[in-house]
Symmetry: C2
Subunit: 300 residues, 2 copies
């Protein structure tokens, strides 16, 4: 399972029962939380997200609609007796805010909270089956996007061929990882003769808040699914640019340039009660577009 | 109109669709917000509270379930273009937290936010038709309760008597405010001969988080309605004491000692999904008790 569940898709402030930004990425047994606007813990309860399964939290930037729910979520995790360590990746100054809020409340968490300031683009964390990279985006304040990638899948054994070459079963795990086989006679059986390629590893890029920026497309080139903000419809591109945000059309153009398979758009302005036109305008440019609707899980 | 609308009645963390502490007191045309747990702005939208009418916010203490929603609310007021000044009364260090959060987001509010640190018991703010006092409560951190009082009502004109004494109508407003009348002949008409007393001014005491404390009853003596936390049922009085909280029975005893007309209990522990027993236990001691149910407005 590799998917993203939308917990909040509105920008700036809650409106029309839409909530500020938060997304859960599920990859095998791991849950990753990206951004955490106010009320994220309530949205988790509503959509039955198991917060005890979250070990990594990524905060893109310190506008309130992307992190005001974080302190409450972490506090609640502590009150619920969490013991597993929690890793938080965010702009450096967030640590000062959290430390001050815990200090005045005399809060002692029952688990280790590891704070990792985002300082440069590149690998942020790596597990057996995933990696997360960050990249900077162009917004009014320091802002980071994230790419969550599956690790490369092992190759598949070609059963006929391994029998043909008399390769013992104990050696299959090496073959899966790409090794050649040497026979007793010293002959080399090339890996690609006896294995088949597996599915390409998939990836998800969360592009945070950003002005239209073609460089961004290069940073997330060839991801499977791209989330790109579309705060405004295309007629308001001047306003989008002035506020370092993007339009539907711009988001869709980035998806094309990035060569993504699918585009999710969100971070809708509270100007808009109805969202149909967002989908229409994005699809006009990039047909495989979807609205980041709250409560929906999109397969990656 | 003098009433209190409950926006959150749960303690520590949200649970069973109950929210952390927040209450709106309506007094004539004024709205006062007391405490502001996470999600308060969403609760305001749900219960149709006109946040533009709030000019005074009171924060009892800096445990997250009493203030984590404040920064989001104030930010949203700014985004919605509020221009009226806003007064915030809270423990002093809250200013540092807010200033830091605004600084990192480069937030400039379009209205004046006046921060008033709570430093000693007594009058906090006074208007034409209301006054608010604060008093300290015994909790694990610095904690304040609040009493919101109507101003004394003017006396009522006794229409028969004013005609009898030939008092000109232009002088009635002085009579209402308690003045005597001097006739042309220099005789004194005593105010109480020609006016009638009006209803006693009413008052609401919000007792914040507190351990059972009989001194508290003295501080809120004779208020019309008292809100007192009842985090636990009466069998858990040891736990309540250890955590500087109170039980149903203790809340009801304070209401008796304070000579209040009505008791509201809230701040229920997430241990409890069903609340019936809270009401039963409070009423056993103080019959005019009610549960502080979210969305309900209680007349004061």
């Amino acid at each position: 399972m590799f998917g993203v569940t939308i917990l909040g898709n509105n920008s700036a402030l809650p409106a029309y029962d839409r909530h500020p930004t938060a997304q859960i990425v599920t990859l095998h047994e791991q849950l990753f939380l990206i951004d955490c606007g106010e009320g994220t813990q309530m949205q988790m309860a509503k959509f039955k997200i198991r917060r005890s399964k979250i070990n990594h939290i990524f905060i893109s930037h310190l506008h309130g609609d992307h992190y005001f729910g974080l302190i409450g979520l972490i506090t609640s995790m502590g009150l619920l007796g969490r013991e597993n360590e929690l890793h938080l990746y965010a702009p450096a100054v967030l640590k000062d805010i959290i430390d001050l809020q815990f200090k005045v409340a005399d809060t002692k968490l029952p688990f280790a909270l590891h704070f990792h300031p985002l300082l440069q683009e590149g690998l942020v964390v790596e597990g057996k089956r995933f990696s997360v990279e960050c990249f900077s985006t162009q917004h009014r304040v320091e802002c980071w996007g994230f790419i969550i990638r599956e690790k490369k899948h092992p190759r598949k054994i070609d059963k006929e061929k391994v029998l043909q070459f008399n390769i013992p079963a104990v050696y299959y795990s090496h073959l899966k990882n790409g090794a050649d086989y040497e026979t007793k006679e010293g002959d080399i059986v090339k890996n690609e003769w006896v294995t088949l390629p597996n599915a390409e590893p998939r990836s998800y890029a969360f592009c945070a808040d950003t002005i239209y920026d073609e460089l961004l497309a290069e940073k997330v080139k060839n991801v499977t699914v791209i989330y790109h903000e579309a705060t405004y419809l295309k007629d308001l591109d001047d306003r989008a640019t002035a506020r370092f945000h993007s339009t539907t059309e711009q988001a869709a153009n980035i998806a094309i340039k990035a060569n993504a398979e699918k585009l999710l758009i969100g971070h809708f302005s509270s100007k808009y009660e109805v969202l149909d036109q967002f989908l229409y305008e994005a699809k006009e440019v990039f047909p495989n577009s979807e609205l980041a609707i709250e409560g929906v899980t999109f397969k990656i």
